[in-house]
Symmetry: C3
Subunit: 347 residues, 3 copies
């Protein structure tokens, strides 16, 4: 892939300053760019690199002033950052374009697959599955019976979706993620053994959701585990049975949400957070990494930290003192000694 400054300016509706025939073959950060790189400058903090970069082309804001000469050809646009993300997107769309049904793959005769599908070799599509248009099912994926996928869904290699689950449109699921495995439900017997409680519900993932690699989302015991529109789930996250995650909630890596908890919209959970079962987190709740939320949070838009989680500011303050606890203990001991003396003096 080789593009000229002229081509790119045309695509981004920008204007060229310098050589319109300058060619680039790849995208790079301005501080790491080399001959053939296309870079951008949006953050003023990085302006210094503009005057020393080896990038063949740099995209900059229309109103960017130049404090020194620039070797690179420039393309001026309204918003350099947005323009660059459009290029990133275009690059990836190009890299990830795939179409056709590779062999050997397994598509049950009762399954329906929409137009422009990619179905990789060794992918398995079961009975009564319905797949929308423009979907990509990479190799080694498994889609169980009666699963429904909307349009523009991408399942990267090795994704597993258990029976009856429903996936919306524009959903991306990364490799190794497991959707719809059994919830962890067992009834104890008097002799200490357990009986499995059959998990007959499903998982519903709405539109525009992304699920990270090796994340796990369990099916409901009955009813549905629900991931609402626009939710972003990072790698190795665990979502237990009957959980409901509100729209546009973001969950960082290795976080776990226990059974039947309900998260509001636009919640943000840091990495390695734990949320106990059967609680509710209000809309806009933010939880710091490694925190453990053990009670429902009813007030919207607050920030929490610690395990068990308390208000963020209180946690920060407590942490400072925890790290100096031996000193606090010493101060108390000194007070005890002084007071003993004082009591003697007073009596």
């Amino acid at each position: 892939m080789q593009f000229t400054a002229k081509d790119i300016a045309l695509m981004l509706k920008g204007t060229v300053e310098g050589n319109p025939l300058a060619e680039v073959s790849h995208l790079a950060k301005i501080e790491e760019a080399q001959a053939g790189s296309l870079s951008f400058l949006a953050n003023p903090k990085y302006e210094q690199y503009l005057y020393v970069t080896n990038a063949s082309i740099v995209i900059i804001n229309n109103d960017q002033q130049l404090a020194a000469p620039v070797k690179s050809t420039l393309i001026r646009v309204e918003n350099a950052y947005s323009a660059f993300t459009i290029l990133l997107e275009a690059y990836n769309t190009f890299k990830l374009q795939k179409e056709g049904i590779e062999q050997p793959s397994f598509v049950h005769e009762s399954a329906t697959v929409g137009s422009n599908a990619y179905i990789g070799a060794f992918a398995y599509i079961s009975q009564d599955v319905k797949i929308g248009n423009n979907c990509k099912i990479y190799p080694n994926c498994y889609i169980a019976g009666n699963v429904k996928l909307g349009d523009n869904v991408t399942l990267f290699p090795g994704v597993v979706i258990y029976f009856d689950c429903v996936i919306g449109s524009n959903v991306i699921i990364h490799s190794g993620a497991v959707i719809g495995s059994d919830g962890f439900g067992f009834a104890p017997n008097p002799d200490g053994t357990y009986n499995k409680i059959a998990q007959i519900g499903n998982v519903i993932i709405e539109d525009d959701v992304e699920v990270g690699s090796n994340a796990t989302i369990d099916r409901a015991t009955m009813g549905s585990t629900i991931i609402r529109k626009g939710v972003k789930i990072d790698n190795l996250v665990q979502i237990a049975h009957n959980v409901e995650v509100g729209a546009n909630t973001v969950i960082a890596a290795q976080t776990g949400i226990a059974g039947s908890s309900k998260l509001g919209e636009n919640v943000m959970l840091g990495g390695q957070v734990g949320v106990v079962g059967h609680i509710t987190l209000a809309k806009g709740t933010q939880v710091q990494a490694q925190a453990g939320v053990s009670r429902s949070i009813v007030e919207e838009g607050k920030r929490w930290a610690g395990s068990p989680a308390i208000g963020y500011t209180a946690d920060m303050r407590s942490n400072v003192i925890v790290s100096h606890l031996p000193e606090l203990e010493r101060r108390v001991r000194e007070l005890e000694t002084i007071i003993k003396e004082l009591k003697k003096d007073v009596q």
Copy 2:
């Protein structure tokens, strides 16, 4: 699937009150039930729903009193909850029935497979593998050389079992779980690099064990990592080399157990718990979510919390004070001021 009240009452040895020809097609919670739903009432807390539910049929206890008229057809049984779990089980058995060897799959000529097996497409069964009766090996599973599986084992899609491992009967392993990968053993060299210590042991999983999706259980360096009868392991759990997990122990999601630790019977570990290596947890030990157990626990049946873990009650008490530490520090500061004054007064 359509069933009448009469059919179901026959199956559950119950008695019908209402229309014996009422039909249902699916199971649902009483509070979410609709026409065509079969529900149950066991917990008195939910009795209110009995009088308003749209369920076509509700299973109730023989001794359930009716405080108001009920629209649904009722089926009375000895234990409504147990009866319902039997139906859940039957439903899932039906949904998950599979038989036959799909193609293309890979079964080594030296492998033996018992009766009524399901082997999915793209499953791989290596040399000298022995598989019992009624086993289901879903697509994309991999079973390495010399592995043994008992009867009624289910491996959901994408399970991997490394060589020499032994799996008992009635074991369920969910998608993406990895059994028998190398323990994390490396010997340091003087120059800061590491030599891998070959891991030649195996994993033994006894009967009636369930392993969650994307869980990992490492093989022993020598000897065996052992998961005893009836153990239930949730998603994304890590069990290191040479660990032994006692019978009927339950381990919630994302918990990790480091090398060579031994857990007694009927231990319960919450989610995201960490257990350090080379320790022992007594029978019946219960550990709260996110706790970190750093020492052996010898007393049976106690509850632990915190990181490092201390007794549960002590931890609860300490947590309350931790969240008010700045106040405690202020109180100490005030005492210091007062005492300074007092000392002046006294002197």
Copy 3:
């Protein structure tokens, strides 16, 4: 596999004491050995077992004194432990020997594969992939377009490597690990939704690295996520986009490193550790299990613990007091009472 004491002594350049024709078929710890076992004694703590073991052969150090008669045939060598790890290694090399291209597998016509390769059934090798010599690609692995693998690389079943990633020589990646999935990058919109930021970088894994099962290493947004030479990564570890892990660093299970953080050489992270994004950990830093590192660490070779992490010794001291906080609070309360009384007395 049957070997005589004479065979083994020859291989290890040792000398036989006892029956040179004694035969062994497997390796075992001295305390668990039986007839047919080959064991070793290196640690003086285990010497007692030498006089009671049923092992047919025991490897011991040249300078090992015998305090009592020994039934087993002995093989004396310079370093019994090293000699035994050589045997472990040989055993595993034998167990894991594989060669040839199994069918059905998918190898794109533009891919190049070096000599002595094993490519298992249902493995998928995409366009422009380059694989070195002596590589083993087990069944159900997926290697995306333009990936490069060095020599002697082993990918256990179900490994996924996304496009453009570069893997060095002597790398071992265990089952279910995902290399190069998208970094977790989203730009917030004013309406609360998020736009995905395309992740066009890659992952570079240098020589001699081992990656545990179901671990995830995300590709960089731009540039590379880099795992340097000799790094050892345990199961279920998460490495986010643009992270750089220094040579010979060791990361235990379930630990997570957030975006753009840089770890120095020979860092050691315990299990379930969290490292926040955009920080630096100095060479030789050691972090205890479950700790949360929230700030850059500049001093080399120090030990850290707690969440947020503080110096190891300070953390140990604070933990002791945390577990006795209710008592400390009571002491402060007593002081308050005494002082109230004292003040009355003084006034």
